[in-house]
């Protein structure tokens, strides 16, 4: 079972590396940020796979923290992408 888990963790790591292509090629900032979020989730997957080994339970807390702090970067990105004059994501038209 350890081999299967480590193999899958390695496979997910290859997924992260494959995602690098979109980061380099990504035309807009939003594309790059989407890939960063994809890395976050795949990273959580790798961490919980590694956490299943003996004595590595603390890695689940690391995955928990990753999952919790993902929105922080998203909100910062939204604030940057929408431009700071409009209140981020408010439905009303951005005030002049």
């Amino acid at each position: 079972m350890h081999e299967l888990r480590t193999g899958l963790a390695f496979f997910l790591l290859l997924n992260i590396l494959a995602g690098m292509v979109r980061v380099i090629r990504g035309p807009t900032v939003t594309d790059r940020f989407i890939v960063a979020q994809l890395f976050g989730t795949t990273g959580v997957g790798v961490l919980i796979l590694l956490a299943a080994d003996a004595g590595r339970d603390a890695l689940r807390d690391v995955a928990l923290v990753f999952a919790l702090l993902a929105p922080v970067t998203v909100v910062a990105f939204v604030r940057f992408a929408v431009g700071s004059d409009a209140a981020p994501g408010s439905d009303k038209e951005p005030r002049p």
Partner: protein
């Protein structure tokens, strides 16, 4: 390999397949909104199957519940992430949604 291990291995493979699908989706899809769609697939299904697979072989309810908690938080943040990014892309940078024609 007990039947439980076979089942959890199947779930793990499923999870890996969805992660692959999500990554390929983010690489191949033509515009921001399709890629967002692919991103959230990795969040809920890819990670979900991996979590279920690990919970099966974790052998203790506490670990299984913690894994489900991690997945629950990822689900919440992924739902909001997708919506916020889509709106930011539509309003801020004005990335036009893909018109359906094959790009070269």
């Amino acid at each position: 390999m007990s039947p439980l291990d076979f089942l959890s291995a199947a779930f793990l493979f499923g999870g890996g397949a969805f992660c692959l699908a999500g990554t390929v989706g983010v690489l191949r899809f033509p515009d921001v909104y399709c890629r967002l769609h692919a991103l959230t697939k990795v969040d809920n299904l890819g990670l979900g199957l991996v979590v279920v697979g690990l919970a099966l072989q974790s052998g203790s309810w506490a670990t299984a519940l913690k894994l489900l908690l991690v997945w629950f938080f990822v689900l919440i943040s992924s739902a909001f992430t997708c919506q916020l990014i889509a709106r930011a892309a539509l309003r801020g940078r004005g990335a036009a949604p893909w018109g359906g024609r094959r790009e070269p």
